[in-house]
């Protein structure tokens, strides 16, 4: 019999019981539907234990890496700490060390921590204001010795959180940062695989992290980054990306402008459309899509139809909470 711990409470899991059944018996409010590993609605995470292999069958590799598993398929092999998906989060205090503009509407925010902040480049965190207002932002760098996280924040006119970050936050201020979340990140496997990165606006943030990570880990396959916005003034890091493309033969950077004023050196059209026109066969490719929710959802389908396997498509839609 093994112990399951959720926050302060513990539950016992009988030898013939799954984690799901044990938690349901203990009246834990956990969602489930099929009880046989198909619907994925019972997915939970163990921060401290590698789950049994059978409990991770059919999950994306990045979810496996972060110890996600299906409670209905899990017969524990040791005591486990379990985190439910909607469980209240643990916040760490960080200090703003850099706030400067990347372009006319995008703020570069760098937050430093006292202790190491463990994450995979491309994940996101929730930032929280003292009054409890919370928003998700993607991490734009790879783990640093200086324990800093980098963010790119677009000003949404009238947006409560983004305007607060733009207008009021100063270097030296502290801010509450959640644990890293999400499974849109690079894993160092199949290094000869083609990688397609498509982002709109601050969708570049997670992609920049993923790109840095892939290059640092010696990814040898072709890597294409399509970054799009309406006007050239809304793109950023253009020179840095061009420089990276010069340094790495396998990295290709295609900045895309959808309005009609397109300077030399930029492609005309939406980033997703330019990407699909450039790369016509995505069989065997790994795909990362970040930014505008509509672009992301449409591209998930399109890249799949162009041959990418569904398990190789990773995405973060920057959903704005409707008020």
């Amino acid at each position: 019999m093994y112990k399951l711990t959720i926050e302060e409470k513990t539950y016992s899991c009988q030898p013939d019981e799954t984690v799901l059944d044990a938690l349901l018996r203990g009246n834990v409010n956990i969602s489930y539907a099929c009880k046989k590993g198909t619907c994925h609605s019972c997915m939970v995470r163990s921060p401290d234990t590698v789950p049994p292999e059978a409990a991770q069958a059919g999950l994306k590799n990045t979810l496996k890496k972060r110890n996600h598993f299906l409670a209905c398929l899990c017969h524990p092999e040791q005591d486990m700490v379990i985190k439910l998906p909607d469980q209240s989060e643990f916040y760490t205090e960080g200090t703003v060390v850099v706030n400067e503009m990347l372009n006319r509407n995008t703020l570069l925010l760098i937050i430093a921590f006292k202790d190491a902040f463990e994450f995979n480049a491309g994940q996101f965190v929730n930032l929280q204001r003292a009054d409890g207002l919370t928003r998700s932002y993607s991490i734009a760098n790879t783990p640093q010795e200086s324990n800093t996280l980098e963010f790119h924040i677009r000003r949404l006119p009238g947006g409560r959180f983004s305007e607060w970050l733009h207008d009021e936050i100063k270097a030296g201020d502290t801010i509450a940062v959640s644990e890293p979340r999400g499974h849109c990140f690079y894993l160092p496997e199949k290094s000869e695989q083609g990688i397609l990165l498509v982002g709109t606006g601050t969708g570049l943030a997670p992609l920049a992290g993923i790109l840095t990570d892939a290059l640092a880990q010696g990814h040898s396959g072709p890597i294409y980054l399509f970054h799009g916005s309406r006007e050239v003034e809304d793109l950023y890091r253009i020179d840095e990306m061009r420089q990276l493309a010069e340094q790495h033969q396998n990295f290709h950077y295609i900045p895309c402008i959808s309005s009609n004023h397109v300077p030399a050196g930029f492609s005309h059209g939406r980033a997703n459309e330019v990407a699909l026109a450039t790369l016509t066969d995505l069989k065997g490719w790994r795909v990362f899509l970040c930014g505008h929710p509509e672009m992301v959802n449409q591209m998930k389908k399109m890249t799949f139809l162009k041959g990418a396997a569904s398990a190789d498509i990773y995405a973060d839609a920057f959903l704005v909470t409707p008020t």
């Binding site: 099929c34 009880k35 046989k36 198909t38 619907c39 994925h40 069958a57 059919g58 959802n297 998930k300 389908k301 799949f304 139809l305 396997a309 569904s310 498509i313």
Partner: protein, 122 residues
């Protein structure tokens, strides 16, 4: 004891091999792809696995009533026999592509057929 169809087809690995091929066919099939316009790709992949497991005679816990409620919103959109036939046809083509013998494909079709009235809400 003789093996079940699900075992003879190859079980879960066969489902995994079929799911992307089948779903790509469905999304490319102008007769039926409008029914899949608003479904989320990731959630849909899990549902396609449920569908294939069921069609292969594998373990599942869906009842006829589940099939009715699960497809009721599609019936409102006009789901009819021709769409049902198209799905079964795409499934057959998927299995041909995976070199599944015709006798087994016939068995799969035979498993789908009794769900017709539930899926179409009759």
């Amino acid at each position: 004891m003789s093996k079940t169809l699900y075992e003879r087809i190859g079980g879960e690995p066969a489902v995994n091999a079929a799911v992307d091929i089948f779903y790509r066919k469905v999304l490319n099939d102008p007769r039926i792809n409008r029914f899949f316009d608003n479904v989320d790709m990731e959630k849909q992949a899990a549902k396609q696995k449920a569908f294939l497991t069921m069609a292969f005679g594998g373990p599942h816990s869906y009842t006829g009533q589940d099939m009715r409620t699960g497809h009721a919103h599609l019936v409102k959109m006009g789901l009819n026999d021709s769409h049902f036939d198209a799905v079964v046809e795409d499934l057959g083509a998927t299995l041909v592509e995976l070199n599944v013998p015709q006798e087994l494909i016939n068995e799969v079709v035979a498993i789908c057929e009794p769900t017709r009235n539930d899926v179409l809400g009759r």
